[in-house]
Symmetry: C2
Subunit: 380 residues, 2 copies
Amino acid sequence: MREWYFKLAFFKRRIYRHAFNLHMNAKKILESADVDAVVIYNGSNEDLNFYYFTRLLYGGIFEGSLAVISEEGVKVITSILEEQSAKKGSNEVLIYRTGEEREKLLREAVGSANRIGLNYASLSMSDFNRLKKIMGEREYVDVSEKIMEMRMIKDEEELKNMREAAKIASEVADIMPDFMKEGIREYELAARLGYEMFRRGAEDFAFTTIMAFGENAAEPHYLSGARKLKRGDFVLMDFGARYHHYNSDITRTFVFGRASEEQKEMYYTVLEAQRIGIEMLRAGVNGRDVDMKVKEYINSTKYKDRMIHSTGHGLGLAVHDHIGLTSLKDLILKENMVVTVEPGVYIPGFGGVRIEDDVRILKDGVEVLTSAKKNELIEV
Amino acid sequence: MREWYFKLAFFKRRIYRHAFNLHMNAKKILESADVDAVVIYNGSNEDLNFYYFTRLLYGGIFEGSLAVISEEGVKVITSILEEQSAKKGSNEVLIYRTGEEREKLLREAVGSANRIGLNYASLSMSDFNRLKKIMGEREYVDVSEKIMEMRMIKDEEELKNMREAAKIASEVADIMPDFMKEGIREYELAARLGYEMFRRGAEDFAFTTIMAFGENAAEPHYLSGARKLKRGDFVLMDFGARYHHYNSDITRTFVFGRASEEQKEMYYTVLEAQRIGIEMLRAGVNGRDVDMKVKEYINSTKYKDRMIHSTGHGLGLAVHDHIGLTSLKDLILKENMVVTVEPGVYIPGFGGVRIEDDVRILKDGVEVLTSAKKNELIEV
């Protein structure tokens, strides 16, 4: 949305490309799921697939809006309040003023389609019953996995937004040491981090920032609290920016003051584990093997069994977009998947180190989207 | 979470009170929905009812966690990563390490209960199928409306958190004029607003901040963009803080520089409309009548038909917690409901004014939770 005002020429070009992508995506999901139409309802639960198919990424809230995907393309059914936002895309836009009008538009948009695909992964039971009542007796099919298969492979527009989200987070990670001072509280430093992301154009947090000092860094799911920063503390920050609905997710760990030998050993162990993981990544590799290899390395050091989570997850419209690098499940990596690589070690009562980057899978390696410094443990 | 470190004595007292509340809530939902147990699954969709019944408001993420409510009280089934956070509450905590363990714990927790209540309003179709597979043939019942009826009436702990959320937002609304300067962009001012909320203890935005300058203030669903502030602009900000999972929602409209006569007339028309609305509020009044009365006033001025949304909505764990003040639906107001009162008028191409406060319904009137200045149009 931000760029909207200045880049009209670019925008026109973009519309054209959108139209192309959308027809491809629309065609693809209808074929792969073998349905006559797909109905995405941004209802009582937000459905990220609404943005995926409509590419309405540049403004608008779209609560209660629907996307109907059929041979005719993508139709957006939305309220009068969203008319301007909806028309920024390349979809057919149908405007309602009342609930009855919305129902009528939906029935018309699905027409005589019999097999209707729905996204069971986020559609609530209430909304399913509502849709069934409006559309009547048809065959309803779960297409959530088929959509996810498509979403796992990012196209150029998605990658462009993810690169920007990663750039914002990386810049902020690099300047955060400037704001660390004795006595600052975790939530104050987290507030600063948010400010620095938003003024660089982040539209939202990708997720609630984790800002953990000292012993709190040992809890992977800690958020932030009133703990004050003191000399010798670890500072672990795990955060991300959302840009045009796409997310980044980065972790950096610093030491405030001089690092102890133990802190250094933890840091360089994790850094090496991450290097091993990233080096393995390319199309055709199984994510499970990457997680196993990373843990095998950690377990060969004094930090045996101290890595208590998986190596990484898929990233995109959702922060946990899809299964990534985990020994719990097979995932054969493909070109243009984006996954996080985030080994960590944790010592309860002492602290923890995690280093996380976002990488795009290529045929023969990776493109690392995040670029914040990490090769030396930074002592602030 | 923030207060956790300093208020242990208070916390102990709180645990005791929790236990009392929880048993009340647990008892109430089992009786009113006539079920043997209620299962809340914080699965593919976040279910705010998880926090409502467990009162785990002070830290933790609880992805994939379950709450089982039965005659025995509330049981929380959560992963080893959340063990510490889960034990901060007064529920029975059951820890799993694997998916199989989670399934087993769920089966044990529901025991021989036959009629199982589920929250259809957020439970996804996929998760419903998953739960059915784990728990087997039983009678499943939608209890979403029964829970919502309970949630509409806030208890002391909820009000305490909402007051704090409202206080943070009000303080920030009052200081925002200090940061308005010629040429600042909407998203930059929104970034500052976020920073000021977070450093005062907000744990999240209640929703994406609306920061609209000049003509952008005419779009009620506008978010923020790169528009620069210039003399004579409206500055409309609609935002809220989340504190211990409870939300505030406030709107203030300023003029940067000297206000024109038209701007003043819009402002004082909206202010009077809000006064009329708030004055009507008390237990027993129908929200529909309030919306109609507010619009009747607006329609008696030169801004006829310029108020294109309802007067207000319920507020709580969700920002749009429940139906509020809208001519679309009846709602007999009850003591300890919290609703927003937010009339506005919008002139496309020129701008808009909205003034919004959060109010708690009392027997004979209201408690206004938000306190930012509004009685004079502020010219910055």
